[in-house]
């Protein structure tokens, strides 16, 4: 009996619960009916404004010469626009957006350039094929590394005025320094040949600039000859406006591109 009573009470409790629940639901529904149309949900939060950033553009990434003998240098050249960081693997490391670097791979190597920018990554490869057997080293390795060091740090570019190919008076001290450094190179290795590259800014026509760059390289060679540098160790080549070191439309960039540059002959 007691048990029954208890059970009844439990059932009652359950029933009360049901009643309360359904009343609440009814009230809620009724209240809902009396209300006007609910306000529209708030607009979604604005999407974060992201400007479409372009991937960096790799204008070029080349190795010249693409085929070398063991021990010879090859020159990596690159130009990247719109990048915040440029990396080249195989020990070259982080580099400026445009530039060049002499490398001495002892075996065929593919250099991988990665340009990172706000819009993502771009990459390019340049392969240097190392032919074997290596030719006998013309000079001691220490002399070669010394020559490369002189070429990279002591031989400086000569710059020119617009549409001009004569060495300016203010560049004479640089030319003197170049002559001294080049003579030192040729005394370290009498077989070493240096190429004088003539370059132009982007404004003139590419056709005219090819000839203008040639005249700049020749004028630099002749000026060095006047300072006693043997011309049979100097080659000239014009790149016109095909190999700019910067691509901005500024007077500063134009002036940097109007140059004679020295490199190891290929």
């Amino acid at each position: 009996m007691i048990q029954k009573q208890e059970k009844f009470e439990t059932n009652m409790n359950k029933r009360r619960l049901y009643l309360t629940l359904s009343a609440t639901i009814l009230l809620t529904v009724a209240a809902g009916c009396h209300k006007k149309a609910p306000p529209p949900p708030p607009p979604p939060p604005p999407a974060a404004v992201t400007l479409p950033a372009a991937k960096p553009t790799i204008d070029y990434f080349t190795a010249e010469p693409a085929t070398i003998s063991n021990g010879q240098p090859s020159s990596l050249r690159w130009s990247v626009t719109g990048a915040t960081g440029v990396q080249i693997d195989n020990g070259v490391g982080s580099v400026s957006p445009s530039g060049r670097r002499a490398v001495y791979p002892t075996a065929t190597t593919t250099y991988h350039l990665t340009a990172t920018g706000p819009g993502g990554e771009s990459s390019a490869d340049a392969t240097i094929t190392v032919s074997s057997p290596p030719p006998p080293a013309p000079a001691a390795p220490s002399a070669q590394s010394q020559i490369q060091d002189i070429l990279a740090h002591q031989v400086q570019d000569i710059h020119f005025d617009y549409d001009k190919s004569d060495v300016r008076p203010q560049d004479q001290p640089i030319l003197q320094g170049d002559a001294t450094a080049l003579k030192q190179i040729f005394s370290l290795d009498p077989n070493f040949i240096v190429t004088i590259e003539g370059h132009c800014d982007e404004r003139g026509s590419a056709e005219y600039n090819l000839a203008l760059g040639d005249r700049r390289a020749a004028a630099t060679r002749d000026a060095l000859a006047a300072l006693g540098v043997p011309t049979d160790k100097l080659k000239t080549i014009s790149y016109g406006k095909e190999r700019p070191i910067c691509t901005d439309a500024t007077e500063d960039c134009y002036a940097r591109n109007r140059r004679a540059h020295f490199s190891a002959a290929q």
């Binding site: 990434f61 080349t62 056709e207 000839a211 000239t236």
Partner: protein, 458 residues
């Protein structure tokens, strides 16, 4: 009420007709040239998907021609004929002549507002997997007693059942129409150019309308400054593939390079061919000083020096009409200017005005005009395309406020000029009518420059 509506509609339509007549007066962009109406062809079955490409091509070719005036479609009757059986010859008797021109009465196409002298009609169909387009062309003169006498031509154009096939058929039909008025067809002509889209500057070739862009060289170096022999068989260019800027000849027939003897020089570049495609003039530093002009056989043998100056002499272009004289760029008076001389190196005279920088000269096929790039009135590097009448020295500016424009090259029809335009980012190849109208780009991928029009193979 209904009567009133009909009456006002009638007023409106008659008003439209008179407005149309005014339009007819203003659309004559080539005064004195015939007015031509060409209906939109319709395609049946499998041809229906491609006929729009055909119609667009015909319309674009005719609109860009200086030889005719294309009457705008908006003036055509609603009912247009598709084949000869849809057409009636002669003039309708005055008694039962309707107020507005009827499409099926041939001579009605000569009435305002259409006022066309000629009518082109036709349709396309699929036959054995090919696209077959029937194209007719009629004179609308009212005194033609029969359709046969009014018909100028009726031809069948067979092409691949594809968009490209429809474009090709459209070019051929438009060329046949323009041939009636002295037009030289551009079908079969190509444009050689330089593109860096593969990573390095290489020589590319495309059809004259920008289709079928193909890479010709794969040196991974710098290959640039293309030119073409007048017989359309050889592309000459300058390449650093061997370490120095040197000339290379490339056969379009075999797709292979041809033997060419380069002078020992720091630079050999800028080839121009004689009209018979057998000799060339080019620029070289073979003498040790600045670049000078030389002539040689097409294989580099038989060398003879043409200029003896202490200045830069580049970009020779032999007169394609006479073969007796050439223009080139020299800095002998300061900044680069365009000069002319005869093939012996004599009769030197400056053609450009002497101000600014004038460069990239290009002959019109008849030798009467030279297109060139000039910085007139602007700072260095800001080039625009100009055309000079050689006899009078009068110049006309064709581009303005559209970026840097250079390297013009004339189409064999003398009515189009292809050029490079750098508007912001990268240089692209553009084509325009020789009067500077109708500019449109032919390339979009990568950087593209130095276009040169290549004649159809002879």
């Amino acid at each position: 009420m209904r009567l009133f509506l009909a009456f006002s509609l009638f007023l409106l339509s008659s008003g439209l007709i008179s407005a149309g007549q005014q339009i007819t007066g203003s659309i004559v962009k080539n005064p004195g040239k015939p007015l031509i109406a060409v209906t939109d062809f319709r395609g049946s079955g499998a041809a229906s998907g491609y006929i729009d490409a055909f119609n667009d091509t015909v319309r674009s070719d005719l609109e860009s021609s200086p030889l005719i005036n294309l009457v705008p479609k908006t003036l055509y009757p609603l009912q247009v004929p598709q084949q000869p059986s849809d057409l009636q010859p002669g003039v309708a008797p005055p008694s039962n002549r309707p107020a507005a021109p009827q499409g099926n009465r041939l001579s009605d196409w000569s009435l305002p507002p259409i006022s066309a002298n000629f009518l082109g009609i036709g349709y396309g169909a699929e036959n054995q997997g090919n696209l077959v387009v029937f194209g007719w062309f009629y004179s609308t003169a009212p005194n033609m007693p029969s359709l046969q006498q009014a018909q100028v031509f009726g031809k069948i154009y067979t092409a691949a059942l594809s968009r490209e096939g429809a474009v090709d058929a459209g070019h051929r039909y438009a060329a046949d129409i323009l041939a009636q008025f002295g037009g030289k067809s551009l079908v079969g002509t190509k444009i050689a150019f330089v593109s860096s889209r593969s990573g390095a500057k290489e020589i590319w070739v495309m059809n004259w309308d920008g289709s079928d862009q193909r890479q010709l060289t794969r040196y991974g170096s710098i290959s640039t400054f293309p030119s073409a022999s007048p017989d359309g068989r050889i592309i000459a260019f300058t390449t650093y593939a061997a370490g120095y800027p040197a000339i290379q000849m490339f056969s379009l027939d075999s797709g292979r390079k041809l033997p060419f003897y380069n002078q020992r020089a720091s630079m050999n570049a800028f080839v121009t061919f004689t009209p018979d495609s057998r000799r060339i003039v080019f620029s070289s530093t073979a003498a040790g000083g600045p670049a000078q002009l030389y002539t040689a056989n097409v294989d580099g043998s038989g060398l003879r020096r043409l200029t003896y100056s202490r200045s830069i002499e580049v970009e020779p272009k032999i007169n394609p009409a006479t073969g007796a004289d050439l223009v080139y760029v020299s800095d002998r008076s300061g900044l680069p200017q365009v000069y002319s001389m005869n093939m012996e190196g004599a009769n030197l005279r400056r053609l450009s005005a002497g101000t600014g920088e004038a460069t990239n000269p290009a002959w019109s096929p008849d030798g009467a005009h030279i297109a060139f790039a000039w910085t007139k009135g602007f700072e260095p590097g800001n080039y625009n395309i100009f055309v000079m009448d050689v006899a009078s020295g009068q110049t006309t500016q064709l581009t303005a406020n559209e970026g840097r424009n250079e390297n013009p090259s004339w189409a064999p029809d003398g009515a189009h000029i292809v050029y490079a335009s750098k508007r912001g980012g990268q240089s692209q190849i553009w084509v325009m009518n020789a009067d500077g109208t109708g500019k449109h780009a032919l390339t979009t991928k990568g950087s593209n420059e130095k276009p040169v029009w290549v004649n159809a193979e002879k």
